[in-house]
Structures are given as structure tokens and as C-alpha cells.
């Protein structure tokens, strides 16, 4: 797995974050079938190493744009678990007062510019945040998380090209989970990899194993450092797989339980990272178990918080249309 070690403190944060995302998503998956959660949800389980490995390098002053599969990015960027779960439940205590829902969770104070219901919607917004960072002469970066489907939207081209010509502190992090909804990445992309498209924009591009936390962490660290030091954007492709369907209720007939695809699917990024930190003696078995237990408790508390919260007041319908 790894070339480089992570500190104990960082490893604790990473493991807790990955457990939080997994537990959050597994619980949403379970609760969704009961009808308690309305609407559509797109679960991030399986892809935890990417949001976590990237956000491990960020502070609240850095910005991220997210996707329709955004719960993982929110958690990794520090959004409040209670507020997130309440938002998904459509409650007034939600991070967006119950008016955004799963696809629009945001917390600008945390630098989280929103999950996004529009595939590819994040590219130009991240470029705008990068433009702001450069204009105000900060060292802050903007991360644009996007899926393999979004790579085929026009915003991919316009956004990356603009970040390249203006040398903006933006890192474009592709989460290639093999499927855009029900259509395979290998069908819908002219280039074999998404990372190699960086060459067209004259910027560095890299493709890494998105199930390997350390690989993502190291590659993201290089890209973010490059952006902070004024050297411009990077395209980082992380190859991964989602544990669930495109949305909850998807039968996933397109998935293949054999061959190369199964090889990616069978790797669990959390188990792999846990084994690694134990082997490297970064964390003890006891510490790992404590983190796992704390995560389970935190997610259960978030569910209780959401269940016990009130729905929005009727007047909230009309509020916050205009500033």
C-alpha cells in the first residue's frame, strides 16, 4: 500500500472519517428502505478513501465543490453529522434547514460549497472559488470532486481549461467509480483514462488507486501543495467502485461480479487502511476499536437527532429566496 507513513493523529482522523462515512451511508441505506427518508439518495460507501485522503490536507478556509454523491465529501470537510442527517430527513435542524436535502447539503462556513444535483455543475464553481483565492492572494485551494460521468460534461473542459490558463489553485479530483448512472466509463469516454486528459490542458494528470487511502493521500498532497504554491491546477483520477447503486432502489444490473471489475469491487478501502495502520503500528487494535465504536455511536446519535427534530415551519417555504 504505502510508501509514506501518516502521523498517529492524522491516522485517527482518517479512520474516524472513513468509518463515519461508511456508517452514515450504510444507515441511510437501511433507513431508506423503511420510507423514513424521502426523495433520492446517492450513497458514497466504498469511495471513502478519496474524500478522506483529499480533505485530510484541507482546512475550513479551503473550498470544495461536490456531487450528487456528496455525503462523503461533506463528512470529510467537517460538516456536522447531526445537521447532515437531519437535512436528509428534511428537518428544520438540518444544515440547510431541511430545504436542500441529500443532493444539496452545504456548509459555506466549512468551505463546503454544496453537493450538487447537476452532474458537472461543480467545475465552474470551483474555478470561481479558485479565482477568488488567487485574487485575494490567499494560500487557500479549491477542490472539485467529480465523477466519471461528469468528465463528459462540457463544464469539465471549460472549467479545467480556465483553471489552466489562469493558473488557479484548483485540484480536480475525479472519482471514477466505473459507472455514470448505469453506463460504463469505458463506453462513454474516448480516452482510456480520465487522468490522461490533463495533457490536453497542459497540466499534470495522475491516475491512482482510489481504494488505497495512502495513494490518494499522497497524490492529493502533491497536487494541493502545487496549488498552494501558485503552480496551478492538477487533474487527479482516483479509480474506485461504489458499494451501492447509482441511487437507492437501483437494481445494479450493469455490475459484473467477475474479472477486473470484481477485483476493484472486492477491495475495501477501510479494511485496507486499518490493516495498514495496525501493521505499521501507527494505531493499536484497541485504538482502532475505540474509533469504530465512537463512529457507530456518533451516527446513531445523528439518527436520533434527525428523528426527534421538527419539520420546517410552513413560513420557511418563503424564506431565503433573496438575500
Amino acid at each position: 500500500m504505502a510508501k509514506e507513513n501518516v502521523s498517529t493523529e492524522k491516522a485517527q482522523w482518517i479512520l474516524k472519517t472513513m468509518y463515519d462515512i461508511r456508517n452514515f451511508e450504510d444507515e441511510v441505506h437501511r433507513i431508506f428502505t423503511t420510507g423514513e427518508i424521502p426523495g433520492f439518495v446517492h450513497l458514497y460507501a466504498g469511495e471513502e478513501a478519496i474524500a478522506t485522503g483529499v480533505c485530510a490536507h484541507l482546512t475550513d478556509d479551503d473550498y470544495i465543490t461536490s456531487t450528487h454523491r456528496g455525503h462523503g465529501h461533506c463528512i470529510a470537510k467537517g460538516c456536522d453529522l447531526n445537521g447532515m442527517m437531519a437535512e436528509i430527513y428534511g428537518k428544520e435542524t438540518g444544515l440547510c434547514k431541511g430545504k436542500g436535502g441529500s443532493m444539496h447539503i452545504a456548509d459555506i462556513d466549512k468551505g463546503m460549497l454544496g453537493a450538487n444535483g447537476m452532474v458537472g455543475g461543480g467545475f465552474p464553481i470551483a474555478v470561481g472559488a479558485g479565482l477568488r483565492n488567487k485574487y485575494l492572494k490567499t494560500k487557500d485551494v479549491a477542490i472539485c470532486f467529480f465523477g466519471d460521468g461528469a468528465a463528459n460534461e462540457g463544464t469539465f473542459h471549460e472549467g479545467i481549461n480556465m483553471a489552466a490558463i489562469w493558473n488557479l489553485p484548483v485540484v480536480f479530483v475525479n472519482e471514477n467509480n466505473s459507472f455514470a448512472e448505469a453506463t460504463p466509463q469505458w463506453y462513454s469516454s474516448g480516452s482510456k483514462t480520465i487522468g490522461e486528459r490533463a495533457a490536453a490542458y497542459g497540466i499534470p494528470g495522475e491516475t491512482v488507486d482510489g481504494k488505497d487511502l495512502i495513494a490518494v493521500y499522497e497524490a492529493a498532497g502533491r497536487a494541493i501543495e502545487r496549488a498552494r504554491s501558485g503552480k496551478g491546477p492538477t487533474l487527479l483520477e482516483c479509480v474506485t467502485y461504489r458499494n451501492y447503486g447509482h441511487f437507492e432502489g437501483d437494481e445494479q444490473k450493469y455490475k459484473n461480479d467477475a474479472g477486473k471489475e470484481k477485483k476493484i469491487a472486492d477491495v475495501d478501502c477501510i479494511t485496507a487502511f486499518k490493516d495498514y495502520v495496525l501493521k505499521q503500528k501507527v494505531l493499536t487494535e484497541k485504538e482502532v476499536n475505540e474509533i469504530a465504536k465512537a463512529s457507530t455511536e456518533d451516527i446513531q446519535a445523528a439518527i436520533t437527532f434527525a428523528q426527534e427534530s421538527s419539520v420546517p415551519r410552513p413560513e420557511a417555504l418563503f424564506e431565503d429566496v433573496y438575500a
Binding site: L95, G117, G128, L131, R132, T155, E158, D320
Partner: protein, 343 residues
């Protein structure tokens, strides 16, 4: 001090004063300076164009390319970047060269910027002014002559203003740039050369407040943008027949000033709305619907909407002239209510 300057100069001056006042104001657009990284221009600190019509001329030399940013031909890219920059604390003023290009970048306004505040539970502000131009009459044909302010005004979270004269252009632009919402500032390209009195100082014209340009007791005409001049011509003609027309320049298409319009209609009992946009689902039909709903008992006749026909804008000059509302069309189409007044 007030002096006579053109509509275009008024906008240019408004942008300059907004940028002087607040260094968070930046401009983005295609060739709003022109000639980026062309050495012989850079050596002289010159812009090549200053916008396709010259509206932003001289701003790059004054404020530099850091604040007057020429973009690639990437409407959704830079319009979305403006949303992102606005969400994170700047006050961008992107220029969409023609409002007809909105198809390329509508997502950034329709699904992103206009909804962020609401979707995010009131946490976001998107202080962004989109300058664009609309309007037939310049032989620019179907893809460069449309009027889409009404369509954009139907999006919750977006404000839309359409100035008819240099004074309002400058004052509205300064209000728009200070506003914490997306404001579409739609300029009629055929008005760029129009001259009028404009104060030199920084001043604002209120968004959402229509202006009564001429008072009258018999008939109300509400107009958008350059249709004001059609209404004033109609009012002159009717005056000779003893009919007093009240003319209201709507100025803000969204949210439009219901109070001023309803007060006038309650006084006159007759309403004509002149809107250059395509005839269905536009601002005129919306005004008509609200007036019929809220002032039905005051009406002495049907509300008349005089709009463009349901066609794209034609190229041939004679056809384009036929396309636009004019005084004759207004008088003919509204004959039913005007004839009533003659009795």
C-alpha cells in the same frame, strides 16, 4: 454635476465607479478588454476592443487584467466561475455578450446561483450582476436579437432590470452591483448611442420600483426598455384626441412593481403592456394576469399585450421592422379600448 452622455458611457462610468468603490468588484467576459497577452497592446496598456460594443472600453487599462478578465469563449465556464467567486466573497460582474448565448450557461444561473441561498438554508449570498444585451433592430438576426429578460425573470432568486435611458442605466447598474443577489442587467443594444442627462457622481436607482414617466387618467401603458419610446409616441397621438395616457417604465422585470402598476390601473381602468419579448409566457402576460386577478373590478376593458409575434427575429430590415412593436401596432391592436375612450 449632470451632463449629457450616452447609454453606453453611462454603463461604462457605472462600472468604473463601482470598481473604484469596492475592490471586490471584478469583470469577466469575452473580449471585455480584448488582446490579452498581445505584446504590442500590453506595452501600451491598451485594450483591443473593450467589449464587442465598446461598453467596457478603458476599464482594463485603468484597473488591469487582474480585475478586467478576458475569458475564453466558455460561457458556462466563466458564468459558473462568477457564481463560485460570488459565493466565496467577490462581487463579479460577468458580461454575456448577447442574451441569446444564455443557452450555453443557463445552468449556472438556473440551477446553481439562483438556488444556492434557498437550498443552503439561507447561508449563501450570490452578489453577482450579469450584464447582457437584448433587442431587435440592429439587423443582427435570430441568434443575436432576442429578448429573454422575461424568461430569466421567471427564475426565483433572480432579479432582472431593463433600463430605458442613460440615467437609469447608471443608477440601476450601481444598485445591481451592490445587491446581494444575482441581478441580470439587460441592455438594449439599440440604445447604446442614446444620450441623456446623467449625474457624474455615484448614485443609485432603486431596483423593483417602476417610474411613472407621464401621468394620465384615461389609460395606462406599461413598458419595458425601449418600448417606453413607443408608448410615449402613442401617448402624444392620443393626447391630440383628448385622451390622457399614463406611461409607466417598468425598469425592473423581476420582481416587478405591482403596486405602481395596480395603482395606475385602478385610476385609469385600462391597461396596455408593451413588451418586445415573444408573446407567450412573458412579462406582459404576467402583468396582465396579475392585474386581472387583483384589479378586475376596476377594469373597463380587456388588458392588451402588444408583443413581438411568435417568431424568431428576422434578418431582412423590412421584416425586422414588422417584428417590433410600434405606435401604429399599439393603436390598432388596442383600438377596442381606445375607441371606448373616444365616445
Amino acid at each position: 454635476m449632470t451632463r449629457r452622455i450616452t447609454f453606453m458611457k453611462a454603463i461604462n462610468e457605472g462600472l468604473e465607479q463601482a470598481m473604484e468603490k469596492d475592490d471586490r468588484v471584478i469583470l469577466l467576459g469575452e473580449d471585455i478588454a480584448g488582446g490579452a497577452e498581445v505584446k504590442h497592446l500590453e506595452d501600451k496598456n491598451e485594450d483591443a476592443w473593450g467589449g464587442v460594443f465598446g461598453v467596457t472600453k478603458g476599464l482594463m487599462p485603468k484597473f488591469g487584467r487582474v480585475r478586467v478578465i478576458d475569458t475564453p469563449i466558455s460561457e458556462m465556464g466563466y458564468m459558473g466561475a462568477a457564481v463560485g467567486a460570488a459565493a466565496t466573497g467577490l462581487r463579479p460582474v460577468p458580461e454575456l455578450m448577447f442574451n441569446d448565448f444564455i443557452g450555453f450557461c443557463l445552468d449556472t444561473i438556473l440551477a446553481q446561483g439562483s438556488k444556492m441561498r434557498y437550498m443552503f438554508g439561507g447561508k449563501a449570498k450570490i452578489p453577482m450582476t450579469v450584464r447582457t444585451c437584448h433587442g431587435a433592430g440592429a439587423s443582427a438576426a435570430a441568434q443575436h436579437s432576442g429578448s429573454y429578460y422575461g424568461m430569466l425573470g421567471s427564475i426565483p432568486g433572480v432579479k432582472v432590470v431593463v433600463p430605458s435611458n442613460p440615467y437609469d442605466a447608471k443608477g440601476l447598474l450601481l444598485s445591481a452591483i451592490e445587491d446581494d443577489n444575482i441581478v441580470i442587467f439587460s441592455e438594449d443594444k439599440t440604445l447604446y448611442g442614446l444620450k441623456g442627462e446623467v449625474p457624474e457622481d455615484y448614485f443609485k436607482v432603486e431596483i423593483g420600483k417602476a417610474k411613472v414617466k407621464r401621468e394620465g387618467k384615461d389609460l395606462t401603458i406599461v413598458t419595458i426598455g425601449k418600448m417606453l419610446y413607443v408608448a410615449l409616441e402613442v401617448a402624444d397621438k392620443l393626447e391630440k384626441q383628448g385622451i390622457e395616457t399614463e406611461v409607466i417604465d417598468l425598469i425592473t422585470v423581476a420582481p416587478w412593481d405591482q403596486e405602481t402598476v395596480l395603482t395606475s390601473v385602478k385610476k385609469t381602468g385600462r391597461l396596455i403592456v408593451i413588451d418586445e419579448a415573444s408573446p407567450h409566457n412573458n412579462t406582459a402576460t404576467d402583468i396582465s394576469s396579475v392585474v386581472v386577478d387583483k384589479a378586475f373590478d376596476y377594469l373597463d376593458g380587456p388588458v392588451k399585450c402588444i408583443c413581438a409575434p411568435n417568431t424568431p427575429v428576422p434578418f431582412a430590415a423590412n421584416l425586422e421592422k414588422l417584428y417590433l412593436p410600434n405606435a401604429e401596432k399599439v393603436l390598432n391592436s388596442a383600438a377596442e379600448i381606445i375607441d371606448d375612450l373616444k365616445k
